[in-house]
């Protein structure tokens, strides 16, 4: 028996064959390119989302790009260039990049869409220094390490000085020296620095190695009430506009991971240990000073702006033209009822 194919039938079959991949992909998961700092304690929510199948549940295929600690600039640049849809890491780089573009007359290309680890900044001092209050040491010529002069922890400390003490870093006698997070504890142990401004696990490592003591921790309210998030998640405004539904699903997956973490934080210690490359014992000690739950309310965003943003404007890092809810934050991806 011979099967005769009409011209119309041939055209229809050929069109179906050509269209097949896009039909298949339309029903498959949506791809999201996510850049994260790794190994790092602050971005563990992504690993929890992976482990708990949160992305799959929301029909997402997340392609991760890992950035080492200190590479947030690279991550934000990749986000800006369109190679990533989301980036999670340090914080001040996104407003900084938007500020440069606004200064040149272009619209802000990026937006902060979520955040984590409120008050993750610690001021650790050498054991030789045991002041009763910070006022005792502000005018001593201390060498305080920060991961860079643009670090989020220094930005946070500047915010604290400005909001609580009405001072800038120029008014105090401290010298801020750039030391990578991993080198801070050895530098403190060998007396090369008098303290550091950083987050976990550096604080815990300094304490258990008896290199120093935690003098201030922002989450405890030592640097003002209701500290803003230290880790921010950013996205591109064109992605938020064009793929809003995908973005919302991604954020819901992150919220699922939040729930999984909040249900039993201590059960997540092995996951955090593996993701951060730290010993589980250290993670368990550090856990009390971290909160990887990733979300952002309007009030938190406003706090970030009033505390860190204003200090960055005061220093000249951000343009005064920058408007917080038009040029920096976009909370439209946050699940309804959250923001």
């Amino acid at each position: 028996m011979t099967v005769r194919l009409s011209r119309r039938g041939f055209v229809a079959s050929a069109s179906a064959f050509i269209a097949m991949p896009s039909i298949v992909s339309a029903t498959g998961p949506d791809q999201v390119h996510f850049g994260v700092l790794h190994p790092n304690l602050t971005t563990v929510i992504h690993e929890i989302a992976k482990r708990t199948g949160a992305y799959e549940r929301h029909n997402l295929k997340v392609v991760e790009t890992l950035f080492k600690s200190g590479q947030t600039v690279e991550g934000v640049e990749q986000l800006w260039r369109g190679n990533l849809d989301f980036y999670m890491g340090g914080a001040p780089e996104i407003p900084r990049l938007n500020s440069r573009l606004i200064e040149s007359g272009s619209p802000a290309p990026l937006a902060v869409v979520s955040g984590a680890n409120p008050g993750h900044t610690s001021l650790v001092l050498s054991n030789k220094l045991q002041p009763k209050s910070i006022d005792e040491i502000l005018h001593k010529p201390l060498r305080i390490a920060v991961s860079s002069l643009s670090s989020v922890h220094l930005a946070f400390f500047r915010g604290y000085l400005l909001a609580e003490k009405h001072l800038t870093t120029k008014d105090i006698a401290w010298q801020f020296v750039a030391v990578r997070g991993g080198d801070m504890v050895p530098a403190l142990l060998t007396g090369q620095i008098d303290g550091f401004l950083h987050s976990e696990p550096t604080t815990t490592l300094a304490i258990i190695n008896k290199a120093g003591h935690m003098f201030m921790h922002a989450a405890n309210g030592d640097m003002g009430p209701n500290p803003p998030p230290a880790t921010l998640m950013g996205s591109r405004r064109d992605f938020i506009k064009n793929k809003n539904e995908v973005g919302k699903r991604f954020m819901r997956a992150i919220f699922d991971a939040n729930e999984a973490y909040e249900k039993d934080p201590s059960a997540m210690a092995p996951v955090i240990a593996e993701w951060s490359g730290q010993d589980e014992k250290i993670v368990r000690l550090a856990e009390k000073r971290m909160n990887p739950v990733t979300s952002l309310t309007h009030a938190q965003a406003q706090k970030w702006w009033d505390f860190i943003g204003m200090a960055m404007i005061e220093r000249g890092e951000l343009s005064p033209k920058l408007r917080p809810f038009e040029d920096v934050f976009d909370l439209s991806l946050q699940p309804l009822g959250h923001s």
């Binding site: 600039v73 780089e93 900084r96 990049l97 440069r100 573009l101 200064e103 040149s104 272009s106 860079s148 002069l149 643009s150 010298q175 801020f176 020296v177 750039a178 030391v179 990578r180 080198d183 050895p186 530098a187 060998t190 090369q192 620095i193 220093r315 000249g316 890092e317």
Partner: protein
């Protein structure tokens, strides 16, 4: 016709003095011709260099504007303005890099020169010894050659560990980066001396010291100068890497911070200043040494 039967041009009132004067005149015309020729060559070199530079600047301006790349590739005019503003300390944007640019440049310059001086003190005598004494070479050369492939930047973490944060660590990595080109060039210079020159010196009764001073050192000088030229270039490359990781001052730290601030114009300003200061340092130090040695002694690499 003279006594040899050759026709000679008779100059009125000619005598030996007139011939000398004529020769002097020819000589002066020749030297004038040479001067003019050198001047023309200089002008030609300048013209060609200026044309090359103008082409690069035009292409740069075109790329930045046509492809709307000003955020990552500021135009030459913007960069020139940023350099001018930094040098006059009249900033349009807030200066976020601590001390003014002169203090940063001075800090980098001191580190580069210190590293260079220490490297020269060690590498040149060692290179001369290794190049001239076979037994010494057999002991020392394998060690140095095995250290050579380690990139300068790989020494930075160790330098921080050994010397802590600050000047010494940066000077150490600069020293490491400068040592090898100086050593290898000096050693090659010392090895390539024509043995006839050394034997001739010995025949004339030259002592070891005289031989070293009058034969070996002048013959090795072109190689040493080349080594210095390469080493100083390497010093500026390494100083930027060192200052990015282990220092709060210096042009490398300005470069790093401007990247954190996404200020491409400041980044390029720092790069241009490194290039200018590096070029000037090379001209000042190596150029002066070259004039005082190679050109004075008229030694050339054959």
């Amino acid at each position: 016709m003279n006594s040899d039967g050759l026709l000679t041009e008779q100059i009125p009132g000619a005598g030996p003095e007139a011939e000398v004067l004529a020769a002097a005149e020819v000589g002066s015309k020749l030297s004038e011709y040479g001067r003019l020729r050198r001047q023309r060559e200089r002008r030609r070199r300048f013209r060609r260099g200026a044309i090359g530079l103008a082409v690069v600047l035009c292409a740069w301006q075109f790329m930045a504007v046509a492809y709307n790349l000003q955020q990552i590739l500021p135009t030459p005019l913007v960069v020139a303005k940023t350099v001018f503003n930094a040098l006059t300390m009249h900033y349009e944007q807030r200066w976020l890099y601590g001390p003014n640019i002169y203090e940063h440049l001075a800090a980098s310059f001191v580190r580069a020169i210190s590293g260079f001086a220490v490297a020269a003190v060690f590498a040149i005598p060692l290179g001369l010894l290794v190049g001239r004494i076979t037994a010494f070479r057999e002991y020392v050369d394998p060690i140095i050659r095995s250290l050579y492939p380690i990139p300068g930047i790989a020494w930075i973490p160790l330098a921080i560990l050994w010397f802590g944060l600050g000047n010494t660590a940066v000077i150490f990595v600069v020293f490491i980066a400068e040592f090898f080109p100086l050593y290898f060039n000096t050693e090659a210079g010392a090895r390539s001396i024509n043995p006839i020159l050394v034997d001739a010196g010995r025949c004339f009764g030259a002592t070891r010291l005289t031989l070293f001073r009058r034969v070996i050192l002048p013959a090795a000088i072109p190689y040493i100068i080349t080594g210095m030229r390469i080493a100083l270039g390497g010093a500026w490359r390494m100083i930027v890497a060192g200052e990015m990781l282990a220092s709060q001052t210096g042009i490398g730290s300005v470069l790093m911070e401007s990247r954190f601030q996404f200020r491409a114009n400041d980044l390029m300003m720092a790069m241009i200043l490194i290039s200018v200061v590096g070029f000037a340092t090379e001209k000042l130090i190596v150029g002066t040494l070259e004039k005082k040695t190679t050109q004075k002694w008229e030694v050339k690499v054959l």
